[in-house]
Amino acid sequence: MLKLLYFARLRENLGVAAEQIALPAGVVDVETLARHLRARGDAWARELAPGRPIRAAVNQSMAREETRIRDGDEVAFFPPVTGG
């Protein structure tokens, strides 16, 4: 299973804050997970479109597109941060 979290504009536009999914076949890193989620269409395709300013974290550490994803991981997607 993967625990997926969405924050801020993504959470609002996707209409989901958190979900659990079985690790999809072919998903090995952040890039392939984003591609899998984009295939849901509509808001997913728009919000996670390549070129959109989206950040990801794997197990609560900032990640890159090539960061590996394994069964049991917590993966979060969100816009660039604006704290401070």
Binding site: R9, A57, Q60, S61, P80, V81, T82, G83, G84
Partner: protein, 158 residues
């Protein structure tokens, strides 16, 4: 190291006293307070700060650890508020103690620059025209990047 993420306001004076309490080798304390700003062109009645519980605390602790590895610090603390905030309210407090002022100033600025680009907080402003998510500023990325590279002397004021 003290890291706090909270909805309540804080008193910068008592936080400063706590930071330096019990260590007489401290010769300098630098601190920063960030506020909710109201712009004349777009009045912000209030904002809501969202965060990623768990990762927020971890990333702030990692940033403070980096500062401690980089400068000889005698204390460092970060308080960041979340939830509903109005114009004029305090958002964030960073305090750093060291033997001499130079390290305290540099480490304080480093921590603020790093948390603005690495700690998972998001601001949503409520204006008379409706709510809007605050966009990340390229200037913040630039400020954080100036600390990359090992030479602190040149990195500080480039």
């Amino acid at each position: 190291m003290a890291i706090r993420v909270q909805t309540e306001d804080f008193d910068a004076g008592s936080e400063l006293r706590r930071l330096r309490a019990g260590d007489r080798t401290i010769g300098a304390v630098a601190s920063f307070v960030g506020l909710v700003r109201d712009l004349a062109s777009a009045p912000v009645a209030e904002m809501v700060l969202e965060h990623y519980p768990g990762m927020t605390e971890k990333s702030l602790a990692a940033i403070v650890s980096e500062a401690q590895a980089r400068w000889p610090l005698l204390g460092a603390a970060v308080i960041h508020r979340v939830g509903r905030l109005r114009a004029g309210e305090q958002i964030v407090w960073v305090g750093v103690a060291s033997a001499h002022r130079k390290e305290a100033f540099a480490a304080c600025e480093f921590i603020v620059d790093a948390l603005k680009t690495r700690a998972p907080f998001w601001k949503k402003e409520y204006t008379p025209d409706g709510p809007r998510w605050v966009e990340a500023r390229p200037a913040d990325e630039q400020a954080a990047r100036k600390w990359e590279g090992g030479d602190d002397e040149s990195a500080q004021r480039s």
